[in-house]
Each structure stands twice: as C-alpha cells, then as structure tokens.
C-alpha cells in the first residue's frame, strides 16, 4: 500500500488528480475497499471526506461514486433520487431493475445502515400516484433468478398485458404485478410470446402517447428488465447528445456499469451511433473528468 500512502501525501498539498485517477480507476471493488480502509487507518478520516474537500463537481462526483462499494453506491443514488423530482423516478427504476436480486438486496441493507430507514419507506413517501404504484413493488422485489420458464404462464400473461395495454389501462394492478414480481427469464418469455402473438414489441404498443411520462417509465422498465445494455446505451446517447451534456447521467452510467457491462454498452453505442464511445466522451467532456471517464471505460474488471 505504498502507492496509497505516497499519493495521499499529494492529496493534502493540493490534489494530484492524475494520481487519483491512476490509483482508483483500475482497481476492483475489493481493492478500492482496501484503499479506503488503509487511508482511514493512516489518516484517521474517511477517504471520501478528504476527497470531498479537495476536488470539485463532476470529477469529484465520479470519484465519489466509483470509490463507494456497489451496494453503498446504489443506496446513495437511490436516496438522492427520492429527494429530487421526476427524472429521478428513472434512477430508482434503473437500480431496481438492472441489478440482480441479491445486488438489490445488498443495496437495501446498505440503505438501512446509512440512512436509518428502509428504501421502500422512502420511495413510498416520496413518490406519488402511478409512479409510486410501479416503483414501490419494483424496489421491494426479490425476484427468482432461475432460468426455468413456464410457457403456459407466459402465454396467459402476455394475453393479460395485451388486454390492459389495448385498453390503455397502463397502471393496472395485473400489469404492474407481472413486471414487478416475475423472474427476468419469465418476463422475457412472456414478451417473446407477446411479440409472436400480437405482432408488435410491447414497447411499440406502449408508445401510444409520446408525452406521457408514466408510459416512458414503463417502457424503460421493460427495457431494463430484458435488455439492460440497450437501455444504458440509450441513456448514454441521450446524455452525450443533450445540449451541454447531462453529466449526472453520464457519471452515473459509467460509474455503475464499469465493473459490469460497460464494454458491451460501448459496443452497442458504436453500433448505434457509428462513433466509438470513447471518442464521443472525449469530444463532449474535458479535463480530469474526461480522463477519469476514459480510464473507467478501459477498466479491466
């Protein structure tokens, strides 16, 4: 841990961002945890508090998110999302649907520890209406993770989905129940059957009103459950193309997926935009923020 000690001297006297990037970007969760512990023992203060004082905005946020353990990170992001306004429903759904059942569980445990309440009570009390109807069961789920699929059930539930969607009953209890409780494999089978039987992808049928935010969330939910890499590709694309760049989304996606499937997402991005992701990021961001993003893009898990 000589590397750790040496560089933290640099932190105290005006931060050496390059060194921070070098040290943190290419470590996995276990190693980052060790770095944090070692720092705390040596300097009597949590690494993140020290970083907080020395760094600024986008770069800091990216470092902060990256250094947190995955469960803590998800708890932090979820808590932040319950305090902000509507766009944050997306973040809650993203965490609930793209993590594995155990990852979501660990996030809920980390939430207890850090915020002294449960994730579901915060979601229940900070969301309203149809959004709450959907989000509360999503964050409370503990989905079965096996590959077994019941084709008869897939058929009957595809029928239910089709009925409700055709009747514009988008907040229907059964529709939500299927998306919020069934295993991902089962949902996948159901949606395949839906397409075979009724001709369209379910998300096409859910586009009835392009301005409806609830429908947008439903579509995103479906995508997260069965094609997360496509969901994240789109999130990145929108963040980069947005006038002025949505650093919040960019940071979040890169920090949360770097250890999981960022490489696959980058491939999807290139397929869809004909531009490699690192070049797009390079064009749109600058300084240490850009350097850290690119370092995470090349991260070996």
């Amino acid at each position: 841990m000589a590397i750790v000690k040496g560089s933290w001297v640099a932190i105290g006297w005006g931060t050496n961002e390059d060194l921070i990037i070098q040290i943190l970007a290419h470590r996995n969760a276990e190693q980052r945890k060790l770095i944090r512990q070692t720092y705390a023992e040596a300097y009597g203060e949590d690494l993140l508090k020290a970083l907080d004082k020395e760094l600024s905005n986008d770069f800091e946020r990216l470092i902060l998110l990256w250094t947190l353990e995955p469960a803590e990170r998800d708890a932090f992001l979820a808590n932040e999302a319950t305090k902000k306004w509507t766009s944050s429903n997306q973040v809650l759904m993203e965490i609930a649907c793209t993590r594995s059942a155990n990852q979501l569980l660990h996030a809920r445990q980390a939430y207890h520890a850090r915020f002294k309440k449960s994730l579901e009570e915060d979601v229940a009390h900070h969301t309203t209406g149809d959004f709450r109807k959907l989000l509360l069961p999503l964050v409370s789920s503990y989905r079965y993770e096996g590959d077994e699929v019941n084709l008869t059930l897939a058929k009957s539930e595809a029928k239910i989905l089709h009925e409700k969607i055709s009747g514009k009953a988008y907040n229907d209890e059964d529709l939500i129940r299927i998306l919020a409780t069934r295993s991902k494999a089962q949902i996948n089978a159901t949606l395949n059957h839906y397409k075979n039987e009724y001709g369209n992808d379910i998300n096409k049928d859910l586009k009835a009103d392009p301005k409806d935010e609830f429908l947008a969330l439903l579509r995103a939910t479906v995508k997260c459950l069965v094609r997360p890499e496509k969901y994240f590709e789109k999130a990145l694309r929108l963040a980069i193309n947005k006038r002025g760049t949505d650093e919040g989304a960019l940071t979040r996606v890169v920090a949360t997926r770097a250890e999981i499937d960022l490489k696959i997402i980058a491939e999807e991005y290139q397929k869809r935009s004909s531009v490699p992701l690192d070049r797009a990021i390079g064009k749109d961001t600058h300084g240490d923020y850009e350097k850290m993003l690119l370092a995470l893009l090349g991260h070996e898990a």
């Binding site: 449960s118 579901e120 009570e121 709450r132 509360l136 503990y142 096996g146 129940r177 409780t181």
Partner: protein, 303 residues
C-alpha cells in the same frame, strides 16, 4: 367391571387434542380377539350395529381420530425444519388453501424479524422456483392481494430511530381511513398499506400511540371485524396479543380443525415468547406425546 373401565379409559384417551398413546398401548396392546369384540359391542360412542351384522366404526370419528393421531407427527415435522424452510412452506400452503388461511401469511410476514422474513423469501426461491411475492400476487385475488404482497416484500429498518411528527401525520391518515370505512375499505386504501408495509416497528408503535390519542381507542379495537388488516396491525406491534388469541381459540372446547392446527404452529414457532399461563391450558387440553412435545418446546424456550 374391567371392560367398562377399559372403555372409559379409551374414551378419555381418544378425546380432545392428540391421543394418549400410553393408555391406548396398555389397553389395546394386550387385547385379544374376545376382548376387542366386547369392546366394540360395549363402546357405543365409536361403534354401532350395522344392518349387515357387524359393529361398525363411526366414520366421522375415524376422520377425527386420524387427525388427532397425526398431531404429534405434524408437530415434530414442523419443529425439525429450518425456520426459513418452515415459514416458506407455511406460506406456500396458506396461499394454496385460500382466503381463510391468509392470516397465516400476515402472521409470518409481520411477526418475524426482517432477516427472518428475508430468509423465508430465499428459501421460497429454492423450494418453489419462484418468488414469494409472485406466487401471492398470482393466486390472491381481491382486496387482500395488495396488502399481502406489500407485507411479504418488506425489509424493514430495525433501528430505534423514529420520526415523531411523521408518525403523527400517519396516525391521522389511518384514523381518517378507518372513519371512512363504510365508504371505502381501509384495506384498499393505498396510504394505509404503505404505512403498515414500509414503516419500521418502533415507528409504527409511535403511530399507534398517536392514534390512541386522536381516537380515544386503540387501532386494533377500531379495526375489529376488518379481518387480516386487524391481524396485520396486531402482529406488527403486539404479537403476543395476536398469538394469545389464536392459542385461546385453538384450545377452546369447540375449536375447529384449523384452529387446532394453529396451536401446533404457534407453539412450534413462538416457544419461548409464549405467555406462561398457556402452559396450564395445555396441561389440561392436550394428550400423549403431542402434549409432552409441546410442553418440552415451551420449557426449553429457545427459538
């Protein structure tokens, strides 16, 4: 006469909760053909003259005797299971058996700790290849579904921290829902479900206290007749009241089979947390190995 004594002893051994295996063994174990014939002819409670010339065993008694013989076996099987498997299996059965058994789901979801409930959900994945919440959501219809799914999905904060002014607001929400009960059932009120299914138990206790101040009655009193909603409220903060009630019902003279089964379930799952005076009732009502086993569980007291 020895025969009459035997019949009286057998009547005693076969009546009530469980069977007195020792008496049965000593009387019937030594019984030869003659003795058995005399028993059947003299034992009017269980045997009657059939028109085809034999003493026939009364069919309804056959049925209830089988249940009583089973009691010890079922208690042992239940107590041997890991608590997670036990709770998962109890819930799965309750779902399949229908609305009259939904209180068992509430009982387990609300009286267990967050980790115990989580464990049951994990066991459910393994035993039944689906999640507990999807099974409930798919099989329970009507107004109880939302509450039950929400209760089993909870992973409550277990620390002591309570938000007093929030508790007050939420007590008012509950009070309003109860007051409007004739217009809309409280169990269908989303706010009610949310409060009961997401808040921590200490916080809920605060809510109940505020409720009592606002309404001059306890929330459990006000929810009398509201089925599993009342059970929910009771199990969350005063589980002893709920369990004592279930035990009293099951140990009473005209208890039906389901209530009697509940006695086994409650004693096996709660053991040490039981009120001591239950022991006397058990001494009086239960019989045989079943009684000894139940008393042993209570005496040992651990979970």
């Amino acid at each position: 006469m020895a025969l009459l004594d035997d019949i009286e002893a057998l009547n005693k051994a076969f009546s009530g909760f469980g069977v007195d295996e020792t008496s049965i063994l000593s009387i019937l174990g030594n019984s030869n053909l003659e003795h058995k014939k005399s028993l059947r002819q003299g034992w009017s409670k269980f045997f009657s003259e059939d028109e085809y010339g034999f003493e026939r065993f009364d069919p309804s008694h056959v049925k209830s005797l089988k249940l009583e013989f089973k009691r010890f076996r079922d208690a042992v099987m239940l107590s041997v299971l890991h608590p997670w498997e036990r709770d998962a299996r109890l819930i799965e059965k309750a779902i399949k058996k229908g609305p009259k058994h939904y209180n068992i789901i509430v009982e387990i979801a609300c009286s267990r700790s967050s980790e115990e409930l989580l464990g049951a959900r994990k066991a459910y994945h393994s035993l039944f290849d689906q999640s507990m919440e999807e099974d409930i959501a798919a099989h329970v219809k009507g107004s109880e579904r939302k509450l039950l799914v929400a209760l089993v999905s909870a992973y409550r904060y277990e620390g002591p921290k309570v938000h007093d002014h929030v508790a007050k607001c939420e007590a008012e929400i509950l009070a309003t829902a109860v007051k409007n009960g004739d217009r809309k059932k409280p169990i269908e009120e989303e706010e009610v479900i949310m409060i009961l299914a997401t808040r921590s138990k200490p916080h809920l206790q605060e809510i109940y206290q505020h409720y009592h101040k606002i309404c001059a009655k306890s929330i459990t009193e006000d929810l009398e007749g509201h089925g599993i909603l009342k059970d929910t409220v009771e199990c969350l903060c005063t589980p002893e009241t709920y369990f004592t009630r279930v035990l009293d019902l099951g140990l009473s003279v005209d208890a039906d089979e389901e209530s009697k089964k509940a006695v086994t379930r409650v004693i096996v799952t709660r053991k040490g947390a039981l009120v001591k005076d239950v022991q006397n009732k058990i001494e009086g009502c239960l019989k045989g190995f079943y009684k000894d086993f139940m008393l042993g569980l209570i005496a040992r007291g651990e979970k």
